[in-house]
Amino acid sequence: MSGGRPGLARRLAGPQNRNLWFWVFVGPFVLGLFVFTYVPLGWSVYLSFFDAHNTVSPTEFVGLDNYTAMLRNDAFTDSLWTFAVFTAFIVPTTFVLSLSLALMVNRLRRAQAFFRSVFFLPAACSYVVAALIWKMSIFNGVRFGLANTVLGWFGADQTAWLSTTDPPWYWLVIVTVRLWLQAGFYMVLFLAGLQRISPTLYEAAAVDGARPGWQVLRHITLPQLRATSVAVALLLVINAFQAFDEFYNLLSDARGYPPYARPPLVYLYYTALGQGQNLGLGSAGAVLLALIIAVVTVGQARWFGLGRSDEKGA
């Protein structure tokens, strides 16, 4: 634009080398993300059209065979069903518990930091450790265990929590682990949202004669918490999709993994890296799972109208 022909290098570097500096700052991160997220995704899609047993290099092109095999595979579709049931349990219960904790802690005048810490503390625990406490101490079935001991005081029979499938008591074990570990984290998100609600709104409501309690909660607090609630619901669903650690640690033992309560990731883990090492089939399952997650997440975001107010708070 100015006189003379700026060389290609100069043009790429931009005014005051800004483009260059942008890539100095952002480049390493983007490169890593490309190599370790985009490339694996692409490779996975590629691999899913091939036969690849015990090897990471594809041997024979099989088209959509891996996909049809996966979709016809009862173990895989059952795992999707397990996941759906798990989500149906965990998302509403965590949501309600963490919101209730936040509402109660927020109204405390003293010891707020203490209660916040206590409920948040499990977030420092790993699923491996939590699963150990649940499996070996609280819900241990026959010989010992806190749950059976306490229930025994009331004359209840002993329950083999993790191996009872009818009724499916193992869900109680799986859901309570996650509730304990995660509720505090989401409580903190809700607390942050609650503390941003202007006190004048509550004063106005009081002037208008709204009774404290349910009316104020329904007409002031919950609508003001909408943005936080949407974020929490999205995070809960995404995290439920990642469920692996507690299922693996609670249910598998030296004899293997029981056929029930296998979420998709556990199933894929055994397919791709277990005995068969069937990476082609595993990749097809991973791609299917990624597609389902994308559809659900985008659908949920659209439903809640997320993205419209993007950048607003920035």
Binding site: C125, V188, F244, A254, L265, Y269, L279, A286
Partner: protein, 278 residues
């Protein structure tokens, strides 16, 4: 009359909170109780709140047991958690700053490409990532355990939002003094935004220490086990020495509890300022 109801309501709420708080602390209590008890006290059908005797020697027994790579796995976990935290802070903060502050025509496109990876739960890519890492020959190496986890879109997002809210005046003053982007970043921005580094660092450290699926997939040799994988191998093995298992679990969360209690308020502050609920 009305006042009385309010007071009753407050008392009920406090009672409920105390009950819930105790319930939340029970698992921690069990961890310590079983870790310091004799095996018979854990498996006894007549469960008691306090074990009959306390065995502090369980800790030394754990580290002397040659069948359990406890010291090695703790060292691996510590190395992985520290290096992952430092690497993530460096890479994500630089990227977040560039995205927030350096004008570039395609900056938003780059940002959306980064955000999109948040939609792909990391766990779904474990099959292809394993394929990639094993073809690089990185299975059972620290590189394989650390490098692929360094690029956290979440951390980058938090840094970008935070830097966008950072007052421009300070940077402008630095520019007037003739500092470029690089020196402005290191001399002005980083020293003035330490809380967000502490918040993201703590979250990343806890995540790295606790992560399980990736170390399970990549750390195939015993030498490369993290403490989580070592614990899990305990719980799924046939012969279990329960008191040892519990004391190992207690030891494994000790470093985290220290970090956690020390940095807790930064985590809360980080969440409040991350824009995650805006």
């Amino acid at each position: 009359m009305h006042d009385a109801w309010v007071r009753v309501g407050r008392a009920l709420r406090l009672a409920l909170l105390i009950a819930l708080a105790l319930l939340f602390l029970v698992p921690f209590y069990l961890l310590v109780r079983n870790g310091l008890a004799a095996e018979e006290d854990i498996t006894s059908p007549d469960w008691t709140f306090f074990p009959s005797t306390l065995h502090f020697s369980n800790v030394t027994e754990l580290f002397r047991d040659s069948t359990v790579p406890m010291a090695r796995s703790l060292l691996n976990s510590a190395l992985i958690a520290v290096l992952t935290t430092l690497g993530t802070l460096l890479l994500a903060s630089l990227a977040g700053y560039g995205l927030a502050r350096i004008p570039y025509r395609y900056a938003n496109h780059v940002f959306y490409a980064i955000l999109a990876t948040l939609m792909v739960p990391a766990a779904v890519t474990f099959v292809p990532s394993f394929v990639l890492v094993s073809s690089l020959g990185w299975v059972s190496t620290l590189r394989g355990l650390i490098v692929p986890t360094l690029f956290s879109a979440f951390a980058c997002f938090v840094f970008r939002q935070y830097f966008l809210g950072f007052p421009r005046e300070l940077e402008d003053a630095a520019r007037v003094d003739g500092l470029g982007y690089w020196r402005t970043y290191w001399r002005v921005v980083v020293p003035n935004t330490r809380p967000v580094f502490a918040a993201v660092g703590t979250i990343v450290f806890i995540g790295a220490w606790n992560s399980f699926l990736w170390p399970l997939v990549i750390g195939q040799d015993r030498e490369a086990w993290t403490v989580q994988v070592a614990l899990a191998s305990f719980t799924t093995s046939q012969v279990i020495r329960l008191h040892e298992l519990f004391v190992a679990a207690a030891v494994s969360i000790l470093p985290l509890l220290v970090v956690f209690l020390f940095f807790q308020r930064w985590i809360v502050a980080g969440v409040e300022r991350s824009g995650i609920d805006d």
